[in-house]
Symmetry: C2
Subunit: 660 residues, 2 copies
């Protein structure tokens, strides 16, 4: 008599399995993705399946009565206690007795694709590194002495066929207490990627383990706390990078390290404390213990990367900008000061692309996948140091550009970071030259009567970009970036400040928010750097235009594509092809957290990316200078339409002309 034929759906995996085998064992033998934490003891309910009935011509199977063993006492008790949906069976209890089709519902699959709205609307496949394994450990026997750890290892081998695990010292230190508290029954979180134990809890634990995706920026640190069983984001949050007190931008932090012995270690300590605090806060918000976080994935630029792992970033501040290490790092999280996580929690840090293009850019590449489309795509991760990717399925180029912190509201006369009270949107009427604006924390425009009384504290990055672009559109600013006088523009809001003019955006109670000539110059420098980087990549790729522009970064999400193009921050592209990817780096971190197979993917992709170093490219300087105009003058903007033809000299037309 031949063994019964078993077909699993939706995978379609099939094979002959001896009668009397449980569905769970059959699934394992055929490589079918069927979850289980308790290892077949009928207590975790993760292995629920739906057996088929009747004929399945497609599979060539007719399921007869009695193809599975009858519902047994374990299943009855489970049904009474917790309820089993109609038609469902526990895979570890139901035994195969005849030909059968077994459906594995989505919630019983370990690897499942989920679409999450909270942090982004993109799909994430679940295949986390860390899985839970419930084991019963033999009690110690004085007459055959062996260590508790050795008996735990024996149990993992006998009950799960898991061998050769690394057991970090903190796990070993807690082991005896946990085993006794769980009465020799424990749940072990195993990181299968590194073959190490991440955590151990007394008794059966069926809650999925948790992971932390971190986007460590020069200015802000953002993190998502994720449920690794569902991909759900349980809590998200951010803090300022405390290293700001050592320097606003990357190079000033490198300088701080160069000038101060122990400076790098000081910055390393600061960011590690901030990360641990953030993990603690998110855990509290989600109502879990930080020690339930078994894994973290971190993305960051190279300087943040080196400071996080405790490497002095001095080499990144000078040619040839050598990274200490470029490959992805898999480390014990406690080596990064994250003792607050599970005692054996692991950290995965994405690979760096080059000395100025970091793991954050790698995460953006993972998230946006420009390598999987035909369109020539430019991705700009806007930050204190902008990182740029250009390419398509035929190849990818990357570089970074030192835009400075102007886009984040720093070095702007009334600038501030994006926080309640900051002006974030600006419109200027081309006729009256009167502005209206919105501030973070309010849905109202400033010309709405209900707006009165809203607190106004300054202007943030997206606000200053819109303000400068609107000034250009309203004819208050010429292509060279000069603000016209009240006489030249016909607007009393253009007020003289020394030898230049400023545009008065808002005034009340003796407080004023101005866009000064210096502000415009700062934005011009920043946007020229950004454009020059993009242009350099286009030269390398041998293209004169791009099909699509994606603005990434938390800040990129708030820039209006049209205003960005008016400024000449980005090359010309159809306006409907210019979009924001939100925090793509953070999303990439979350993808690599939830799906470990993506780690191989990004590591392979990073090896194939062609890196372009802007710092020593003469053409970068040329492009930078040429991109100073608003918009820049190095390429036409067919998608933008005509802008006002105005030209202001600094004090009077004559003097300016004489000088130039």
């Amino acid at each position: 008599m031949t063994d019964p034929l078993v077909v699993f759906t939706p995978s379609g995996k099939r094979g002959r399995i001896p009668a009397g085998t449980t569905v769970l064992a059959a699934a394992r033998r055929l490589g079918v993705d069927l979850d289980s934490v308790c290892g077949g003891r009928g207590i975790c309910s993760k292995c629920q399946v739906t057996p088929g009935k009747g004929a399945y011509p497609k599979h060539g199977v007719t399921v007869a009565e009695g193809a599975l063993s009858p519902v047994n006492a374990v299943e009855q008790r489970y049904d009474e206690k917790r309820g089993l949906a109609p038609g469902r069976r526990l895979g570890c209890q139901a035994c195969i007795e005849g030909d059968i089709v077994v459906d594995v519902p989505r919630e019983s699959q370990v690897h499942k694709q989920v679409v999450r709205k909270a942090a982004s609307d993109r799909a994430i496949t679940l295949d986390p590194s860390t899985r839970l394994h419930f084991v019963t450990v033999e009690e110690p026997d004085m007459d055959a002495p062996s260590g508790d750890l050795e008996r735990l290892r024996a149990a993992l081998k006998a009950q799960w066929e898991i061998e050769g695990l690394t057991v970090p010292l903190p796990i070993l230190q807690a082991l005896q207490t946990v085993l006794r508290k769980g009465d020799w029954k424990v749940t072990v979180a195993v990181n299968h990627e590194t073959s190490s134990v991440a955590a151990i809890w007394p008794g059966l634990r069926t809650d999925a383990p948790l992971g932390l995706a971190v986007d460590l920026g020069s200015t802000t640190v953002a993190a998502h706390l994720c449920d690794l069983g569902t991909g759900a984001v349980l809590a998200s949050g951010g803090v300022m990078n405390p290293q700001i007190r050592f320097g606003e931008d990357l190079m000033s932090r490198v300088s701080y390290s160069m000038m101060n012995p122990g400076g790098a270690a000081e910055m390393t300590g600061a960011i590690r404390v901030a990360l641990a605090d953030l993990a603690r806060e998110l855990a509290e918000e989600a109502g879990i213990a930080p020690a339930d976080i078994v894994e973290t994935v971190i993305v960051c630029n190279p300087v943040m990367h080196h400071l996080l792992i405790g490497v002095d970033p001095v080499e990144l501040g000078q040619s040839p900008f050598a990274l200490a290490t470029s490959d992805a790092l898999r480390l014990p999280a406690r080596d990064l000061g994250l003792d607050v996580l599970a005692p054996g929690a692991r950290a995965y840090i994405l690979p760096c692309i080059a000395g100025h293009v970091g793991a954050d850019a790698a995460a953006v590449a993972l998230s946006e996948a420009p390598d999987q489309v035909e369109e020539m795509t430019l991705i700009v991760d806007v930050g204190t140091n902008a990182e740029l990717l250009l390419g398509n399925s035929k190849g990818l180029l990357a570089c970074s550009s030192p835009t400075g912190p102007a886009f984040e509201g720093a070095q702007i006369s009334s600038g501030q970071r994006a926080a309640p009270g900051a002006i974030e949107r600006v419109e200027i009427d081309p006729e009256t030259k009167e502005p209206r604006f919105r501030v973070i924390g309010s849905e109202l425009w400033s010309d709405d009567p209900a707006f009165d009384g809203t607190e106004i504290t300054g202007i943030c990055g997206s606000g200053i970009i819109e303000a400068v672009a609107e000034m250009r559109l309203a004819g208050l600013l010429d292509a060279g970036g000069l603000i016209g006088s009240a006489e030249q523009t016909g607007s009393a809001r253009c007020v003289a400040e020394g030898r230049t003019h400023s545009y008065l955006l808002w005034e009340a109670d003796g407080r004023r928010i101005l866009v000064t000539q210096g502000d415009v110059r700062a934005i011009q420098l920043a946007k020229s750097a950004l454009y020059a980087g993009a242009r350099l990549l286009m030269d390398e790729a041998g293209v004169d235009s791009v099909d699509r522009v994606t603005l990434a970064g938390a800040f990129g999400a708030h820039i209006s594509p049209r205003h960005a193009m008016v400024l000449g921050m980005i090359p010309d592209a159809p306006l409907d092809k210019v979009g924001s990817a939100g925090n793509a780096a953070g999303h990439g971190a979350r993808m690599a957290l939830c799906d470990r197979s993506l780690r191989d993917r990004i590591e392979g992709l990073v090896r194939r990316i062609h890196k372009v170093e802007t710092a020593v490219a003469p053409r970068f300087q040329e492009h930078f200078v040429a991109a100073n105009a608003i918009p820049h003058a190095t390429a036409p903007f067919p998608h933008l339409g005509p802008l006002p033809q105005v030209s202001f000299n600094q004090q009077s037309g004559g003097r300016r002309r004489r000088r130039s």
Copy 2:
């Protein structure tokens, strides 16, 4: 034309090797043990060989002129600069041109047996885990950016075929500086057992790496700093275990941990600081940097073991005495607080045999190898907690016995640890009942006229044992352990102290050193425990006598076999078969440090040792009570000869008899 035949001596390994191959490459291909640090660059001189001449009938080879390429410029320069012994060639330069016999001198072998006198006279084979590899690393290239670490990995692979190394974070943190300091030439210490980088130094380093063998006892911590290239002990030293302030013996430390939250962590911190300090001191004594120590091997009893790795020892204080882990541990040394060693230094801790029989007993088994002889051998590692091994090539038994600290001079009225000024040897004239003694730090007996003025501070463990045994031999003490009165013994040195008597060993300037009745009782308890343990193992083994008794431990080295037998500490055995093994545990640690193959050996042996738990064995109690007499009464002592037949009651004959 067939390739030349190459025969290496003394290994006898042979094979045909294409003409033009270097001797070093040929050795590698044939698996011949020929050292090299520089990897064939002709600068380290480790690969020196002696080519043969003429006919070798045994090997079937006749070496013709020109069988090796002529001495080349590299060899000439080396000879001029540092001198090459006559007939020697550099294996990395000399190329095979015809059939040849090549001798690999002992100093060019990596694995060599050496006999070291400094720490013991036993042979040690050299096959350390850590080897040095000199590499030239490619410089960073801005146009093809990669991390310094990745280029180091590429160099190790290309130049040494070494792949997949773990690089600990502290190595990565120092990497950039070292590479630049060495002008992209560095020497990497690779721990081949754990496939990890232990250290990295700029330039070529030909000094052998160093290792630290540690015997971590409850009372003292002893360590040897060893040259892993020669096996030489460069420095030895010891410190008191600072945990003594938390409790003199093991169980009082376990109690301290039970009664004081955080007590275990406190003790862990104390011993780690002491170990690091000791490493620093030995390095200073040897004139090297502690960071040149690339490996450490540690042996200790289970309580010390758990406290060292940071596990609360509470389970070891109660039945069933479960170890947290019994297998050997391979850990980063920095996880044990030994950051002072090389940044990637590894620690190897020998396996524990049972809850009361530790890695120190395993080290004794490794050093004394009772499993390799036919004689029924009893090995006693005398300490605060004695560990006993009994057996021969047919099998081994182990147990521990709670002797308490009396053997170490504690709980003795004038007791002190073995240090200058302590009485260590005692003789009592059987006629006059007058004593003479020697103190540590002096070669003279106390009855030597030149002895006058020698400082006398107390009595140490070996001193009190000899004193009690000599009192028994001189008829001052009866078999029950009672000290006779001055009338009963005829010695005025037997002075009354309350209801009992004491023997006055020394008196001067108002200071007295007495052996009190309490001292004798403490020694009786300790020796009864020791004997009961030995007896229990003999019962298990089914033997009534042993062929050989080895006293191990630093203290064991100072006990006179005859006095030990008079006391009944050990079973009867021919006196010439009772000997001391010195610090066998420390020697075992040194063996496992110098020869990594012994780690497998001891791990296998420990699995085969049968463990006997004394704490719950009713027969242990019986043996303990029966062993109270001096010598014990449970077995005859044919090798000892008759002892004085005296019997003293406590105050007077009548009272004692009435009571019993």
